[in-house]
Symmetry: C2
Subunit: 291 residues, 2 copies
């Protein structure tokens, strides 16, 4: 038996499209309805069998849904809350954005404290974006951070956790502020730092061809996330600015410490530090394997 009758997904990019694919494949819903501002995306999603139906007008489709996933850029989520409040305020809704404090605050303010909204962030994705990046089993064995507000009902939390488990994911509960603080360190700061590394290639004044000759897989792997969507990442950086500034400042302190070791020729001290860091990094791989 399917868990839902009609799941709506607004935004059919990498995350929304891959969710549609898995929901259909795993029979989690009888019908998956796609919403997007772009008719071309909806047509493609239908052709590729990601969705059963589509509607350009969001409010028209809302009445028939029993579950809605908002998988749009952060900055427009608020607008959807307004429309949900107007047309179907009791709808079971989740979002999948990368920054949570703002979304949860907006949801509480617009949908109200007795809504059936739960905010989520699957730690899954890639540097690719858009419907052409849709990937099978994207959420399998991946953590999904679920960030309830103080008003979130226990039954909705259970329902959301079950939904993610059906996709093969591992739900983890965090407060929106813990999520944003940790993600700023594990994802947003690395993106920012990588953009800065690529900037140097541009601004170095060195000939691009000569630089290319000196680029190996290390540089390419390290900077892969620099191919991510500029619009998406501008929004993420802006939305999580406070935490990002905190970690940038810690990062700068750390860089200064390493510079000091270099300046003082503290080889042993530096090697000791790098040994610890190597071990920490290897442990992170193992954590991944445990899942």
């Amino acid at each position: 038996m399917s868990k839902f009758k009609n799941v709506g997904i607004v935004g059919l990019g990498l995350i929304g499209g891959s969710l549609a694919l898995e929901i259909k494949k795993r029979g989690i819903a009888v019908c998956v309805t796609g919403f997007s501002k772009r008719l071309s995306t909806l047509k493609k999603a239908k052709e590729q069998g990601l969705i059963d139906e589509y509607l350009v007008n969001f409010e028209d489709g809302l009445k028939d849904l029993d579950f809605l996933v908002i998988a749009t850029p952060i900055n427009v989520i608020k607008n959807y809350f307004v429309q949900i409040k107007r047309c179907k305020p009791a709808l079971f809704v989740i979002d999948v954005a990368s920054v949570k404090e703002r979304v949860v605050k907006d949801a509480d303010a617009i949908l109200g404290w007795n809504s059936n909204f739960v905010s989520c962030h699957p730690i899954a994705g890639s540097e690719k974006s858009g419907i052409d990046a849709v990937k099978e089993r994207l959420f399998e064995n991946k953590f999904v951070i679920v960030t309830p507000s103080e008003h979130t009902r226990e039954e909705n939390l259970l329902k959301v956790k079950e939904f993610w488990r059906l996709l093969g994911s591992i739900p983890v509960i965090m407060s929106p502020s813990e999520h944003d603080r940790l993600l700023a360190l594990t994802s947003h700061l690395p993106h920012l730092v990588v953009y800065s590394l690529i900037s140097l290639v541009e601004e170095s004044g060195e000939k691009r061809e000569r630089l290319s000759n000196c680029i190996g897989t290390g540089f390419l792997d390290t900077t892969r996330i620099g191919k991510s969507s500029p619009e998406l990442w501008t929004e993420i950086f802006m939305a999580n600015k406070k935490n990002l500034f905190f970690w940038i400042s810690k990062f700068e302190q750390n860089l200064s410490e390493i510079k000091e070791m270099l300046g003082k020729n503290s080889c042993e001290k530096l090697t000791e530090k790098l040994k610890i860091l190597k071990q920490i990094r290897e442990e992170l791989d193992e954590k991944g394997r445990d899942i």
Copy 2:
């Protein structure tokens, strides 16, 4: 017909061991002789068929060689130069270290201006090290930066280029100083920055398990090079300190500019910048594919 009678390789780690493997596989030498301070490494190399013979005493083996590859850590290369000068000063020798100015300067000072030494740096490798990391076809379609000094003879340069071409590599000529300046940007700075990112995980005061829940493939790929050898990278950072400081300072300036855009909410400006960086990064992938 083999190009060399007896090729010696001192240091049988990832690079030295993989070179031995390819030289044998491609029949570039009649005999490959391994040198290492560790008898266990030599025995393993022999067992795995990477080398034909081995000698613990370097000077004893030198007399029978017609080509020597120094694939040891940077800091001990000088000692080998001293022994070569003493026992077989006209031997055709290359090194494969990641920093070139110091090695070329030492070679000129110790081996003299009429030696047959040519300094090289294959842009190939991985975060792994040691004989267990040896990899087939490691040098295929990879650039190898060859850094002659003002004394390097044209015939030796041609011989070295041919050697690398036999391994499937693409030799590129640069001055030692250009090499060190560019590699500081494309390899040494990224390593330093990655170590700083991993440091934050350690020093954040956040619970490791909670952080792990927030770590996806982006963080893991970006920081993969943080698993590199601590000893090797301490040496590289120290040996190329001058260039590294230059790029760190540029990097810090760049980070400040991005911080300013965030502080001023300059979304459009930031998106424009990220668009350019995404394009540059994609072009680097294409350069790799052209090879």
